[in-house]
């Protein structure tokens, strides 16, 4: 084993999500303590250009038709041999719709321990601790990385993605193994339907979570949004209930809001949701749970039952507009 840190670079439709850069920034910190290299692992088809902006010492690039788009079966056919051959200290993957699909399989196929949901590493020479955020962001768990190899999936929030961006990495092409007979194939992408709103461009967003309790109560948020000239969005449970359309989903598999004002009503602030809101300027959170993680990222917080507050708030906003 050496002290190199592998980062499995994620890409989707030719774009690199921020988590790829976040992981490179983390890998740089980890490698800094032990003198290892930061090595990007890029799987794709004619995708060398995606390596241009990676702050890595080296990029291992595997080119194959079957790797043109993410395919968990194909990734799991390529990565174990690469890890076995190169013996890095750790392999970082996104705790994402891509990385989480392969982390478990890699752990079993390569017999490597797996730590998931890591937000930050604490590095002291060659000793590395992973700090994970679990239970919807309410609990932190610290795990010592073993001296031997380990896999870690990462969530955003611990590192600035910009720190993972730089040019100049050496690209080393690695031959792909045979990738015939894959049991998973991408048959097509289904683009999101043209929505009535583009949440990513809305300056004022009122977001509702599980705390809104019923579909009918969404009207209250809509009233407030109408008064403020904003739109209503929601977190996962609300969309899964069918109370809001998928185009209104904010978070990991939804939209990333960059609002001037992001006002949350009954949203606890699980990491999957927080991922989609941190680009907003001012977050104001209303939640009845004083320990709700949303208060850790909001600028202003109100710890009350939202149903006690919503009517006085609507009245106050109406009056202010009338004044």
């Amino acid at each position: 084993m050496n002290q190199d840190i592998f980062v499995v670079i994620e890409h989707l439709q030719g774009q690199l999500p921020e988590i790829s850069y976040t992981m490179l920034a983390a890998a740089r910190q980890m490698a800094g303590g032990s003198g290892g290299q930061v090595v990007g692992v890029l799987l794709g088809k004619d995708a060398q250009n995606l390596a241009e902006n990676l702050a890595a010492d080296k990029v291992l690039y595997v080119d194959h038709e079957a790797l043109a788009e993410f395919n968990p079966d194909a990734y799991l056919a390529v990565l174990p041999a690469l890890i076995e051959e190169k013996q890095p200290r750790a392999v970082l993957l996104g705790s994402t719709t891509i990385g989480s699909d392969i982390a478990g399989g890699l752990s079993i196929k390569s017999s490597l321990p797996l730590i998931s949901q890591c937000q930050q590493f604490i590095v002291d020479g060659s000793s590395i601790k992973a700090v994970s955020k679990i239970c919807g962001g309410k609990i932190m768990a610290e795990t010592d990385l073993p001296e031997t190899m380990a896999l870690v999936t990462m969530i955003p929030g611990g590192y600035a993605p910009e720190e993972g961006q730089a040019g100049g990495a050496t690209i080393e092409t690695v031959a792909a193994p045979s990738l015939d007979g894959m049991r998973v194939t991408l048959s097509s992408y289904i683009e999101p339907e043209a929505a009535d709103v583009d949440l990513e461009k809305e300056p004022i967003v009122i977001a509702v979570g599980r705390g809104i309790q019923t579909e009918d109560n969404i009207e209250l948020a809509q009233d407030l949004a109408d008064l403020l000239g904003g739109v209503v969005a929601g977190s996962r449970p609300v969309v899964d209930q069918g109370w809001l359309s998928t185009s209104r989903l904010v978070g990991k598999s939804g939209k990333r809001v960059k609002a001037k004002l992001y006002l949350t009503l009954g949203i606890s602030g699980a990491p999957e949701h927080v991922e989609g809101v941190t680009g907003s300027e001012t977050i104001i959170a209303i939640n009845s749970d004083p320990a709700a993680p949303i208060f850790d990222i909001a600028k202003y917080g109100v710890n009350v039952d939202l149903f006690d507050l919503i009517d006085p708030l609507i009245d106050a906003v109406s009056n202010a507009k009338g004044a």
Partner: protein, 254 residues
């Protein structure tokens, strides 16, 4: 189609979570456990598939306080077989150990499709479904929100950021991590669950010995120490509303 659903309980996040005296695990004394909502969606998806294409649905779970209700509720939704695995799960069990326990049982059940929640919020060593798939040498696709079965395959709608869906063709048998079922999990009346308790049977089987290898021990568990916590707005409702109006003006929303 022979469908297996793996379901389990997780701490209810609405309740306050505390760390035990050892400082490395949740204090389970007052912990209220509820079904992992993604597993609830997996059960719903299995029932939807059965209604649409026919099939047999087995729901598999480890023995936890409260799991019988989950299994009887599944029965009331028309699951055909409920299996509870007995073992020493009181002290908590990691995803690797769980996946091994389930893999051992599933080997003999010859499923076409295994559905489980894409994650549980307590997972610290990956999600059970992804681990299980590799143990059984089956393909795995997670973050699935809707699927269709065709001849020996499924088309799984995999969610990507921004509302993009990848329609993934997956050869069966396979394991899918369910993010959301095509429609919200159905409500079943308490009377129907009670009825199921009288008519349905939960089969009990012994789980194989626990092997947590692949997960790592937590050295410290703690509540988040927010670097910058929100500035809390205090007062009665009217005072809070007035302060919020001022803030809305400050940020240019009014």
């Amino acid at each position: 189609m022979n469908i297996i659903v793996i379901a389990g309980l997780v701490p209810d996040l609405v309740e306050e979570l505390e760390i035990d005296n050892g400082g490395t695990a949740l204090d389970t004394t007052w912990l209220r456990m509820i079904i992992n909502e993604f597993d609830d969606h997996a059960i719903e998806q299995a029932i939807l598939l059965k209604e649409r294409d026919g099939g047999h649905v087995t729901v598999l779970a480890i023995d936890q306080e409260g799991i019988d209700e989950v299994l009887f509720t599944a029965a009331a939704k028309d699951a055909d077989r409920m299996i509870k695995l007995l073992g020493d799960f009181e002290q908590g069990v990691n995803s690797h150990a769980l996946a091994r326990v389930f893999a051992e049982v599933i080997k003999d059940l010859e499923p076409d499709l295994i559905l489980t929640g894409v994650q549980a919020h307590t997972n610290l060593d990956g999600a059970v479904g992804a681990l299980l798939a590799s143990m059984l040498d089956m393909p795995y696709v997670g973050y699935v929100a809707g699927l269709e079965t065709t001849d020996g395959k499924v088309i799984a709608k995999k969610e990507y950021p921004g509302g993009l869906i990848g329609a993934m063709e997956v050869t069966l048998p396979a394991v899918l991590g369910i993010q959301a079922s095509e429609q919200p999990p159905r409500y079943v009346a308490v009377s129907k669950v009670r009825q199921a308790m009288k008519t349905a049977t939960i089969e009990e089987q012994d789980a194989v010995a626990m092997d947590p290898g692949g997960g790592l021990d937590v050295s410290r568990m703690f509540l988040p120490e927010a670097a910058e916590r929100a500035e809390m707005i205090e007062g009665d409702e009217d005072e809070i509303a007035a302060k919020l109006v001022e803030l809305f003006k400050e940020v240019g929303a009014l």
